[in-house]
Symmetry: none
Subunit: 457 residues, 2 copies
């Protein structure tokens, strides 16, 4: 079992690998829109067929929604569970695309060649990196280096409604030594990284009702309670002057960052001015006394994602509205319990309701944060393998976003995940003109070959 011929084959066969990716990208497998349900089936069929051609025992497994793809191959320790998703985001606003989103192509740009099209970075281009690495491995060595299970989902972009039941029903089949999740970015677009801690998420919606109907603000203003004023107070009071969240007990289960991790993150040389500058900002906001990476990866937050009430059209309508609403998300870290935070949020709201104003809390849901046991030597082996491919020390990093699959693997399968992806911050996932750097695709495949060699060696 040798690595170098595998790497050479990946270089040699890059055009063929691109052709295969293009075929998958041309299938418009938008999971949120029922009109594309047949395309989700087609994408799953394509993957089953491709995995079978490598020698996997691959199957399309039905769910109440879009199907899962499960494939098994290889023998020997460790047992690795690879995860990706074949569904993609909708393409609206379509008029902002410079090319049809499902007619992908390699384009030359000032920053190098990119593969342009919906799903290139999220997540078809990424999942094909490990499939191509396995294809080359089998071609050169006659077999996979260890027992490998591939698990591909088709509902990631629509809330994964079938995921938890499927994992519960098939836990024995899917349980492995480690999960390898390929759906994340490199650090700061440059440094190869393994994400080992993920913030959780508590999503809350609150609807306040005051008057039974919208009122004329001249006729009633000054005497009737205005739910927008009440909501504004509730939102304004979510943070204190230091940017800390004021919910009772919010920080009880928030650990301080271990010094070793803090040092590692400081070494990353994160440039907040560049990070913020890219989106038109200059000054780090948020919790006082915390470094920018702490704020993004290891500190909890409360963000209002949406607010509305009263008249929001053109011109003026002097309404005193019946209702006002907000959607608020809390990013959770450490051992923060979504149910406990939900209860604290409800108290925060209810203690600020004046007479005649009621609150509803529909649609709330949450998932706790995840941290991997990075003291297992496999983590360090994978980190070294990544560093060798990219010629740059790889890092264990955190992620501000929530990737629920990693939490479910821990909770339902008892499996820790290595989140290794090759996306870039400028990939415009979920937006028009999504791209995936050709370098990410090429070095991504080579990275997986190196990681397979390191973990199975």
């Amino acid at each position: 079992m040798t690595l170098t011929p595998v790497l050479n084959r990946l270089d040699r066969d890059l055009d063929a690998a691109l052709d295969r990716l293009m075929a998958l990208l041309r299938i418009p497998s938008i999971s949120t829109d029922p009109a594309y349900a047949g395309d989700c089936q087609s994408a799953a069929d394509w993957l089953v067929s491709d995995l079978a051609s490598i020698g996997f025992a691959a199957e399309k497994r039905p769910t109440p929604g879009h199907p899962m793809v499960v494939a098994h191959g290889g023998e020997g320790a460790p047992h690795l569970l690879f995860y990706g998703h074949y569904d993609v985001q909708p393409v609206d606003p379509i008029e902002l695309w410079d090319r049809p989103p499902f007619e992908p192509a390699v384009e030359d740009t000032p920053r190098g060649k990119v593969i342009r099209g919906r799903g290139t970075s999220d997540d078809k281009g990424q999942l094909m990196t490990f499939i191509e690495a396995m294809r080359a491995w089998v071609a050169e060595n006659g077999a996979l280096p260890c027992k490998i299970t591939i698990f591909l989902e088709g509902e990631e972009e629509s809330g994964s409604p079938s995921l938890v039941p499927f994992l519960k029903e098939n836990a024995a089949e899917l349980k492995a030594d480690f999960a390898m999740i390929c759906d994340t970015t490199m650090f700061d677009g440059r440094v190869p990284a393994i994400t080992t801690q993920l913030r959780g998420l508590l999503a809350e919606e609150v609807i306040l009702t005051g008057p039974a109907r919208d009122l004329h603000s001249g006729m009633y203003g000054g005497l009737a309670v205005n739910p927008i004023h009440v909501l504004a107070r509730i939102v304004a009071d979510l943070h204190d002057e230091d940017g800390r969240v004021t919910l009772e007990g919010f920080y009880d289960d928030v650990p301080e960052l271990p010094e070793a991790i803090r040092a590692q993150w400081e070494a990353l040389g994160f440039d907040p001015a560049r990070f913020l500058g890219d989106v038109g900002l200059s000054v780090p906001a948020g919790e006082a006394g915390r470094t920018p990476l702490e704020k993004l990866w290891s500190r909890p937050t409360a963000e209002v994602n949406g607010i509305w009430g009263g008249y929001t059209g053109e011109g003026f309508k002097t309404v005193l509205p019946s209702k006002a609403s907000a959607k608020i998300s809390f990013r959770l870290v450490g051992d923060q319990d979504p149910e406990k935070i939900h209860a604290a949020f409800v108290r925060h709201v209810e203690t600020r309701l004046p007479a005649d104003v009621t609150a509803e809390f529909p649609n709330g849901h949450g998932a706790p944060a995840s941290r991997m046991r990075t003291d297992d030597p496999a983590f360090e082996a994978a980190r070294r393998a990544l560093g060798e491919e990219w010629g740059m020390e790889a890092a264990f990093i955190g992620s501000g976003g929530s990737i629920p699959i990693a939490g479910y693997f821990q909770e339902l399968l008892g499996v820790d995940s290595m989140l290794i992806g090759f996306g870039r911050d400028d990939d415009q996932i979920h937006s028009p003109n999504e791209k995936y750097d050709l370098e990410s695709f090429h070095k991504g495949m080579r990275s997986w070959a190196r990681i397979l060699a390191a973990l199975a060696g």
Copy 2:
């Protein structure tokens, strides 16, 4: 010149008057939405034609916005200037209407017959009361009882942008002894009333911009400033704990209520529990230490009429938005200067902007409060005529709503107004299912006939 035959004719011709009103109501003359500009023209044309049929010299006068209707008729003192507006509010939320808003009908309700549809009470139903009174007067007496000018506007619901220039250009033509404005309610839905003091209005829109584009709240939350949080603070800080508006100098030009007026208002027996109970409320909100009628008529307010930012659709989208906006109206009293209050509001916002957040203030406009010289005997004559029609002493009252036209008539024409309307508090103007009581329409016409007789007598 006799009154009784006119009153009899108004009773006899009620159905024909209703048919005319229905024709006008069916024209969707929504002035705020450019899509209905043609309908505003149609409503003006309809009125010109109807007034000409009574014998008025009626014209549609162009403006940069929607046209004015000006009609002259009759001879002799006093010269009365009648005002109404033919434009109506938008109909959102359309799904809350029990009938199409522009397919009006007379409906039986537990409280009697009502005319249902957009514009029935505000203001087409009201302006037709004086037109019908004049039609009957001419039919019975051969001519109007005095010199009458009718002036109908088509931009009242969209801030009247053309009004001031038009009044300035045509001041000599429009100047009269008194203006009669028919766009108000009876007191408490029962007592006929002449409104003699009106709150002014300053309408403000504020748009905050933070990040250059909407961000992923997981990827940026905790480090990037969220304009919704900033807006919530700005709104929450508009009032102190006693419900007083916090803008600097806001109360400088607010007079205390004269004792005589206070006594008159107390005698009205206003029942705040019923007033609020009708709209599902029970406890008077607003400024501490003020009576309910003071709060509604003679105290200034700040009300947020609309707020929005971020994702407001179904489900969750964990966006950290680029923009957040609010529409805020200040009701002004006494000598409060809209420009001075606007400047104080801008300061209130700007002192609360953190780094990287900018504010724009588009579309703001304002008009000061108005108070009439009720010591002129014509006011008392009109008050007596109203009382005779309704069998109940009529009152001089205040109005919480802003009717800028009264201020402009004072300022630009030097004319005091009698605001006499027959709307009810439950007419749901500006809301779904707007209605006008059939009794208001019928007795409103008869009231104007009596007032014409009293003033021209």
